[in-house]
Amino acid sequence: MNDGKTPGVGEIAPAFELPDSTGTPRRLSGLVAAAPRILIFYRGHW
């Protein structure tokens, strides 16, 4: 189940760390450190 709340405009996005497709850990804070980041959540494989 969803246990969180979708961050709305103006709110601080919840921090996370996920591996990228090459296995490198990526933190949201690092992803946006240099520039704003467009995050695209897509469905992937069905």
Partner: protein
Amino acid sequence: MRQLAEYRDLSDKIRGAGADVAGVVVDPPERAEAVRRQLGLAFPILCDTKREVVRAWNIFEPEQMGGIANPAVFVVDRERRVRFASIDRDAVRVPATTVVDFIAGGMPAENAEAKRRFMLPGVGDFLRATRNVLRFGMKAPRE
């Protein structure tokens, strides 16, 4: 997947606007990497295989296909603040050009949510959906 290719094709404009891109998917890294190579994406794809982030961000759909992410696009600024958010339904997604123009335009708060008109399926989407049903049946095709 088409959505990822749209952002790939806009990469010059995105860089010019001073922004970066990342995809997020619940797929395992091998599959995400295959997609990244196949589409020739320069941006990273993050793999939320445990569904932790999509749950925390409340865009998880546990009923579908073993649990997948609802399509959604966010722009997060350097302070980790959400500047744009669009929770998209299957048939209609916020156009990549809308997101990039938003950033290029200085991220004005009044344009921070996808306008309702992007959410309403137009005639083109209806025709495409109808054609897909005819081709693939009621089960949605892969992206």
